[in-house]
Structure formats: structure tokens, C-alpha cells
């Protein structure tokens, strides 16, 4: 479990919810609240300093840009909570994009081609799941391999050409807005999926099983949780949602290319880890992740509007990723120092009792 080939050492960093504290304290002084606070801060600062940021059209573009990351972050959260990882999401996006493009170009109606693309995504996720659960390979290695394989298939199928002819009505739908506001219609799809995932993770036994898996998969197995099936389902979900994001990406940019969305997996993982999910598994919540995605998206949008180049945005994303993981370690170390025997907190608790 902890030696799932992601970590190099046995000493994992666990922070457990301190249920002795009152509810409001648990909510406010939590990682998720910090990220939400950060998001609001970035929005306020950007609004006042960057010209043209506060306009509705900016939020429109921001949401359109960030939607694939929002979508994929949902299953990725669940996967990282179980202690695994899926690096092949961007390649699955590219593959579904290419499938959509080639089939549609070959004469298939767009709706049917999209359906086939979703099935392809499910198969891709299933292959990941099979190799990880049945064959027993580490998810890092498998998804590095499938990252190359799926991207290679995508590029191989189309070469370096791009398919750019798509049904106009669908392209328009993807960029349409709700009524008179500047909120894109497709955000509704995300909200529905987000609510579904939130219910799945926080309110069902399956979700509790995911947390248990992440903390200790052998104990979870002996508690009756079907570890293999859970992980398999999660990877398949990841494949399907990545395919959906790929379809959206293709329709939004009007281009199906083999190298669409290269590198998106970084943004997804950075946002998920920033949002408070622990890389060691067993801890995390969706609202932090959504705030994390919006935070990175808003930062990127503000910087682009301020004519700062996109490489700076990449530097910031990379640094945020590193900082969020290091800070968790650091805070846990601090916490351990205080609560271990001889620490301040245990002494004071002992004095009270």
C-alpha cells in the first residue's frame, strides 16, 4: 500500500481528521479551505490589477479553457485517494479526439462517432485497470507505458494532419452560453458530473471503500472491500471521462489532432494535489480539488491577459505542484513533532486529564 512504487520510503505522511475538534474548526482550518481562500484571493487581486480581467467574457473563456481539467480531475481525485495514479489521461484525450475526427471525416454522424470515442476511452481505461489489478503492475509504470502507447496510436492514426471539419451545430453548442449570461452551457455537464462524483465519494459505501483502500489496502481487502474491482472501475471511469474531455476539446478548438492536449496530465495532477488530496492516498475531498483547478485556471488567465507568456504559467504550475506536496510533508512533520511523546500538545493534554 504505501510501497506502491510511488513513494521511495516507508515513512508516509498521514494526517487524520481530528474529530475531537469542533466541526467549524475542522472545516475552516483545513487544506481545502486554504485553497478556496487562495482562489478568492487570486480573483480579487486579479480583478483589481489586471486590466480586462473582471469582464464576463474573461470568465467565459476561463471556464471553457479549464473544463477538460475540471472533468478529468474528478476521477483523478478518486484514483489518487486510492494511492494509485493515472498519467495516461491526456493521451486518452488525444486518442478519443483522433477517433472522433477520423470517424467523422469518414462519414459517420458526429453523435455516433462521439459514442465510439467514449467506448474507446472506456477500453483504454479498462486496459489500464487490467494491467494494474489483474497482472499486478505498479500504476506508475503502466500509465507511463499507456501514455506513450495511446498518444502513439493517436499520432499514428492521423499522422500530423488535423481533421478540422465538424458539424457546426455541435461546435456552436459547445461554445454556447446560458441565456444572456457569459456562462458556458457545457459547465452544466460538469456540475452534474461533479455532484455525481461527490455523492459517490462522500456518501456511498463505494466511496468509503476508496478511502479505506488508500489508507491500507490489505486491511481494506480483509474488511470485505473488493480492492481489484474498485480500482478497475476507477480506471475505467478515468478513461471514459478523459474521452469525454477529448471530445469537448476537439469540438471547442475545432481540431482533431494526434497531439491534442499534450501535457494536460500535469495540470490535472497539480490541481488535484493542490486541492488537498494526499499523494500517499487516503485523504482528499472534491471541493478542494475544484477550487484548485479554478485557482490554477484563474492564475493562468490573469497572467495571459497581463501579456505574460505561457511559460511563466507553466513554471508557476510546476512550482505550485512541488510546493503543495512539500508543504503537506512539512506540516505533517510539524504536527508529529507536537503530538509525539514529549511534544507540547501531549503534555498539555496529559495535564488536563
Amino acid at each position: 500500500m504505501t510501497e506502491s512504487a510511488i513513494t521511495g520510503t516507508k515513512t508516509t505522511v498521514r494526517t487524520y481528521k481530528d474529530y475531537a475538534r469542533p466541526l467549524w474548526r475542522r472545516l475552516i482550518i483545513s487544506r481545502e479551505a486554504a485553497v478556496i481562500g487562495g482562489l478568492i484571493l487570486v480573483l480579487i487581486v486579479a480583478n483589481s490589477t489586471v486590466v480586462n480581467f473582471g469582464t464576463p467574457i474573461t470568465f467565459y473563456y476561463l471556464l471553457l479553457d479549464v473544463l477538460p481539467i475540471l472533468l478529468i480531475a474528478l476521477p483523478m481525485t478518486l484514483i489518487i485517494i486510492t494511492g494509485e495514479i493515472d498519467l495516461s489521461v491526456a493521451s486518452t484525450m488525444g486518442l478519443s479526439s483522433v477517433v472522433l475526427g477520423t470517424l467523422h471525416q469518414g462519414g459517420m454522424p458526429l453523435e455516433l462517432a462521439a459514442l465510439v470515442a467514449l467506448v474507446v476511452g472506456a477500453i483504454a481505461g479498462a486496459i489500464n485497470g487490467f494491467l494494474i489489478t489483474v497482472v499486478g503492475l505498479p500504476s506508475l509504470a503502466v500509465t507511463i507505458g499507456t501514455l506513450a502507447l495511446y498518444r502513439g496510436l493517436a499520432v499514428g492514426l492521423l499522422g500530423t494532419t488535423a481533421v478540422t471539419e465538424f458539424t457546426k451545430s455541435w461546435k456552436d453548442f459547445v461554445k454556447s452560453k446560458i441565456g444572456d449570461t457569459q456562462i458556458p452551457t457545457v459547465i452544466l455537464i460538469f456540475i452534474v458530473l461533479a455532484i455525481a462524483f461527490a455523492i459517490l465519494l462522500h456518501f456511498t459505501p463505494f466511496g468509503r471503500g476508496i478511502f479505506a483502500l488508500g489508507l491500507n489496502d490489505e486491511a481494506a481487502k480483509f474488511s470485505g472491500i473488493n480492492v481489484e474491482r474498485t480500482k478497475f472501475i476507477l480506471f475505467m471511469l478515468s478513461g471514459v471521462i478523459s474521452a469525454l474531455a477529448g471530445i469537448y476539446y476537439t469540438l471547442r478548438f475545432g481540431t482533431a489532432r494526434g497531439d491534442n492536449a499534450t501535457g494536460l496530465e500535469l495540470s490535472v495532477i497539480a490541481a488535484v494535489l493542490l486541492g488537498g488530496v494526499s499523494i500517499f492516498g487516503g485523504r482528499g475531498a472534491l471541493h478542494g480539488v475544484i477550487a484548485g483547478v479554478l485557482l490554477i485556471g484563474a492564475l493562468g488567465s490573469a497572467l495571459r491577459l497581463a501579456s505574460i507568456t505561457s511559460d511563466v504559467i507553466n513554471i508557476i504550475t510546476g512550482t505550485l505542484l512541488v510546493l503543495s506536496v512539500v508543504s503537506t510533508s512539512f506540516l505533517a512533520w510539524l504536527h508529529n513533532k507536537r503530538t509525539k511523546p514529549g511534544g507540547k500538545k501531549t503534555l498539555s493534554q496529559a495535564a488536563k486529564s
Binding site: 478556496i36 500530423t160 471539419e165 456562462i183 461527490a198 489532432r257
Partner: protein, 350 residues
């Protein structure tokens, strides 16, 4: 007891989630509730002469020159110049920049398109917001730009390269094309015309393959190596892109095939001077990219100020290049391609 805890925790979590959703919605709608967009409108008052050049990609010597020409023009007529482009020549890379420019409410965009149709939606959104869009070097489809500045007729460009290679290989043998990106409008237009010219006028020349170097130097270098290795009887390579021809020449210079395989295409004198002097390359063609950028900037200015609307017959002033007229299809022609060889290459500096 435990059930009580889990129920409250569940409710608390749902509440926290709802709080987030509400706060985000508030922020979004609060901003969208009728705030006026700050920024200069194009109607009345000073014309917005901030023009941004969006070439195919960054780090490309050809576009460095053309955008510098545009900057020179913009400085002459007192506008603001900027250059934005993706690092790789992809259409979706350009879409993000066009979106940002729309939000920034620039006056005009001078664009060299990576794809004829993929950019149309973004461009039309920009045009709806009042931004003038002019394409240069590589066009989009006619309905999604205001003007197209063409460096030379596509037929002329195709013909000069075919003529050069035919002359250099004795009008018979196998040739290959090393192109840029597979979707670039101008590349595909020229390659089509080259194929027609070869079929009609040079029946003994066989075009074996077209490979794509993606306007990336290292990829073009590797593709040249692959071509020479796969086709041992290859007599000539045509590369209608300055990045491709420079990379191919550099590979040829240190290979056994130097002097045995002819190389021509479109190249800049500065990049090719070495190779012409040591006879790796005999002759190649181009036009002046700086003039192209210069003309594009003046055309954009004319559109912004309302002097022209892009109709056939419109005329506008282009600084030191004189007056230009708009042809059919919203096209403005710069001139003719020019052939460089060992005799005249010393006279140019771009």
C-alpha cells in the same frame, strides 16, 4: 453515536460544497451583472492602433524578420506593436492567443495561420468584438479574415521551386518534399501546385514522398536523414520552408550525399549563405519577409481607421512601399519571388 457523527459530517460536507458552488456562482454572476467592459471601442474617438502579430510559431527566423518589418511600420505610424505565438506550430496553440487578444481588445491582429478552418471560430469571435484580422503568409478560408497579404502568387512560388530543382537534377530522377506542418494552408497550396506542375511539365521526375518537419529544426534534420536513408536513389529535395531547408542543408553538409543530392526551396539568405558558399546548395528562392510584415501592418492600420473595408479595388497607402490595391477575394499581392544564388547572395541581409 457514530451514526450521529457521520450524518453531521455528511451534512457539513454537503454544506461546504454548496458554499463553494454558491461563492463561485456569485463571483461569476456578480461580474457578469452588467459591468461595462473597460477598453477602447473602435467607434469614434482615437482609432485603436495596437496591432499584434501572431506568426505560426516562435523561434523562426523567417517570422522574426517579417514581424520586425511589421514593428518598423507600426512605429512609423505611431501604433503599438506586440508579438504572440505558440512555441509549436499548432492551430489550437494559436486559438488561445487569439482568445486572449479578443479579451484584451486590441485594434488588429496580423496572423499567419496554422490551419485554414480551425481558427475560424476564434477569429470570428474576435471580429465580432471589433478586432480587425489580417492574414499574411498563410491564409485562412476567405470568410474568416478581413484581408490576406500574399507574398507572391502561389503558382509563381510553386513554379520557381520546381524549375530550380528540375534544372539542378537534369530534369529526371526522384525527388522528395520536406514541408513544414501538415495543415499549413500555404504549404499545402504550394505542394498541390508543385505536383500539378511536375505532372504537366516534368514527366521524368518522380516525387517519392512528402515528409513534415513541423517547422522544427531538429525534426527536419532527422527527417532529412530518414529520407536519404530510405531512398538511396534520391536526386533532389525541395523544402518550401526556411526552417526545413536550413536543417536539410546542415545535414547534407556533413554527409556523403553533399553534392550528389540537390537541395532547393525557400530560404533566407543569412541562413543559407554558408551552404551556398560551400556548394551544398546551388540556388533557392524567397521574397522579402520584412516587406511582407510591413505591408501587413499598414493594411491592418487602413482597416482599423476605416480607410478600406477589404473590398476589391480598395487602395491604401503602405508607407515606403507605395500604394497597394486589393484584388479579388480580399487579397493584396506583395510582388514576385526572387531567386538567390552564389552571385547575388552577398547583397542581402535578412
Amino acid at each position: 453515536m457514530f451514526q450521529k457523527f457521520s450524518r453531521t459530517s455528511g451534512v457539513a460536507r454537503a454544506g461546504a460544497f454548496a458554499a463553494l458552488a454558491v461563492s463561485v456562482a456569485l463571483v461569476a454572476t456578480g461580474c457578469s451583472a452588467g459591468t461595462t467592459q473597460p477598453g477602447e471601442g473602435g467607434e469614434g474617438g482615437d482609432a485603436n492602433l495596437s496591432i499584434t502579430f501572431v506568426p505560426k510559431n516562435l523561434g523562426n527566423a523567417y517570422f522574426d524578420t517579417s514581424d520586425a518589418g511589421g514593428a518598423e511600420a507600426i512605429e512609423e505610424f505611431g501604433g503599438t506593436y506586440d508579438e504572440q505565438a505558440p512555441a509549436e506550430g499548432t492551430p489550437d496553440g494559436q486559438v488561445s492567443f487569439i482568445n486572449t487578444l479578443t479579451q484584451q481588445q486590441v485594434g488588429g491582429i496580423a496572423l499567419s495561420a496554422n490551419d485554414p478552418t480551425a481558427l475560424c471560430d476564434a477569429i470570428n469571435e474576435a471580429r465580432d468584438a471589433g478586432v480587425k484580422v489580417v492574414t499574411f503568409d498563410s491564409d485562412t478560408s476567405e470568410d474568416c479574415r478581413d484581408l490576406y497579404i500574399n507574398q507572391a502568387t502561389s503558382e509563381g512560388i510553386a513554379k520557381v521551386q520546381v524549375d530550380l530543382i528540375a534544372e539542378q537534377i537534369g530534369d529526371e530522377g526522384q525527388i522528395a518534399i520536406l514541408s513544414a506542418t501538415a495543415n499549413a494552408t500555404n504549404q499545402n497550396a504550394w505542394i498541390e501546385l508543385m505536383k500539378e506542375d511536375l505532372a504537366a511539365n516534368h514527366p521524368n521526375i518522380e516525387l517519392v514522398e512528402t515528409v513534415y518537419g513541423d517547422d522544427d529544426d531538429q525534426t527536419s534534420f532527422d527527417k532529412t536523414e530518414a529520407l536519404l536513408q530510405t531512398y538511396p536513389d534520391l536526386k533532389g529535395i525541395v523544402s518550401p520552408t526556411t526552417v526545413g531547408i536550413a536543417a536539410a542543408a546542415r545535414y547534407l553538409q556533413t554527409s556523403d550525399f553533399k553534392g550528389k543530392v540537390a537541395l532547393t526551396g525557400l530560404g533566407t539568405p543569412n541562413q543559407m549563405r554558408d551552404y551556398v558558399e560551400d556548394e551544398t546548395v546551388t540556388a533557392f528562392a524567397l521574397w522579402n519577409p520584412a516587406d511582407l510584415g510591413y505591408l501587413a501592418a499598414y493594411a491592418t492600420k487602413a482597416l482599423i481607421e476605416g480607410t478600406i473595408t477589404g473590398e476589391e479595388g480598395d487602395t491604401f497607402d503602405a508607407g515606403k512601399l507605395g500604394e497597394y490595391t486589393v484584388d479579388a477575394g480580399g487579397t493584396v499581392l506583395l510582388g514576385d519571388p526572387y531567386t538567390f544564388n552564389a552571385e547575388n547572395i552577398g547583397e542581402f541581409d535578412f
